[in-house]
């Protein structure tokens, strides 16, 4: 159930961005999740929606994009997308390859609705600057 901890981190950053834009309500949040992250997208969405219920992100859609796992053979350095448990190299048969991608967990974008033009800030870190 670490989905809740991760949804909480996504929500915190999302609300920071909303606050920097006059508290605009959040319509959509896009995240990229690597195939090694042991996250169930539906659980992540559920957790995000539950935590967001009382916030500016209430009802926002969480789009989870999955990133593929890519590994490199420890023997011959062949790069491949593994299709077995042991990440066996299709070229030389060595198992236990090293992961190069698959651990991504990235907040890609936040879409805000009803942003008043004068409070809109294109940068996510406008410290101190508050819309009124």
């Amino acid at each position: 159930m670490h989905e809740f901890g991760i949804a909480d981190a996504i929500l915190a950053k999302t609300l920071e961005i909303s606050a920097a834009n006059g508290g605009a309500s959040v319509e959509r949040v896009q995240v990229l999740v690597g195939g090694l992250r042991q996250l169930v997208p539906e659980m992540l969405e559920f957790a995000f929606n539950a935590l967001a219920a009382e916030t500016a992100a209430r009802g926002a859609a969480l789009d989870v994009e999955l990133a593929p796992v890519r590994v490199v053979c420890r023997n011959c350095e062949h790069a491949f997308e593994p299709d077995d448990l042991f990440w066996t190299c299709p070229v030389c048969g060595t198992c236990g390859a090293n992961a190069v991608t698959g651990d991504e967990l990235i907040l890609k974008s936040v879409t805000l609705a009803d942003v008043a033009p004068e409070t809109a800030s294109a940068r996510p870190e406008p410290s101190g600057e508050k819309g009124r």
């Binding site: 901890g5 991760i6 961005i17 605009a24 992250r37 967990l105 033009p117």
Partner: protein, 223 residues
């Protein structure tokens, strides 16, 4: 108007930054940290107790105990006279770096040679959170079955040592040890693999040697 803001930021940034801060703190104090991960009841606390009892005169061990709800494990460690800090996760299924960082404030790091962190019993969630540890230990016990590495591969892929505990129970359970060993080797050819019984003491020397090597990586000459 609607506005899409591109962020591209690591979601775990906060945890990872605190983990890095922990790493610096521990490096400054010259103590390595071992993060023990397993299902509930595999023997994490028993392995720590064994280490404290046996290494008492040579390695000063401090312990951080992650526990969803009780102080029982911390009491077991305190009864042996070792410094211990309890982290109550209030039902949470894993430790996070901020909790460990706070717990470190309550330990006298200069009086320690090794920090052992007992994570919350869980084979999935703890794996995702860097705690600033030096080494990761995955523990599995005989009654849990030989198929656990195949079912929870990430824990075993990222472990520095895999400890098979409760080997005294092998005669009573249909645990296919060659299969288990093959799976662990296939997932992680680099991990050390130890067979231990905290009950009979079999294999405990291997666990103690592994810990000594973590504390003093150069002192492995005498074999």
């Amino acid at each position: 108007m609607t506005m899409e803001i591109h962020v591209v930021q690591k979601v775990m940034k906060v945890n990872d930054e605190i983990a890095q801060a922990i790493r610096s703190r521990l490096e400054a104090a010259r103590i390595p940290a071992v993060n023990l991960m397993s299902a509930p009841g595999s023997g994490k606390t028993s392995l720590i107790e064994t280490a404290i009892r046996s290494l008492r005169d040579t390695v000063r061990i401090g312990v951080i105990e992650g526990d969803p709800d009780t102080t029982r494990d911390a009491e077991r460690i305190a009864a042996l006279g070792a410094p211990v800090v309890q982290i109550n996760t209030a039902g949470g299924c894993h430790l996070e770096a901020n909790l460990v960082n706070r717990a470190l404030d309550d330990l006298d790091l200069d009086a320690l040679d090794l920090l052992v962190i007992e994570n919350v019993g869980n084979l999935v969630c703890p794996v995702e959170f860097d705690l600033g540890e030096t080494r990761r230990a995955a523990i599995i016990s005989i009654p849990e079955g030989h198929d656990k590495p195949a079912k929870y591969p990430k824990l075993f892929r990222t472990a520095d040592v895999v400890i098979l505990n409760k080997i005294d129970l092998l005669p009573y359970v249909d645990f296919d040890e060659p299969r288990f060993t093959g799976d662990v080797r296939g997932l992680n050819p680099d991990a050390s693999l130890l067979r231990v019984s905290c009950r009979t003491g079999e294999g405990v020397l291997g666990w103690l040697d592994w810990l000594r090597a973590v504390v003093q990586p150069t002192a492995q000459v005498g074999r």
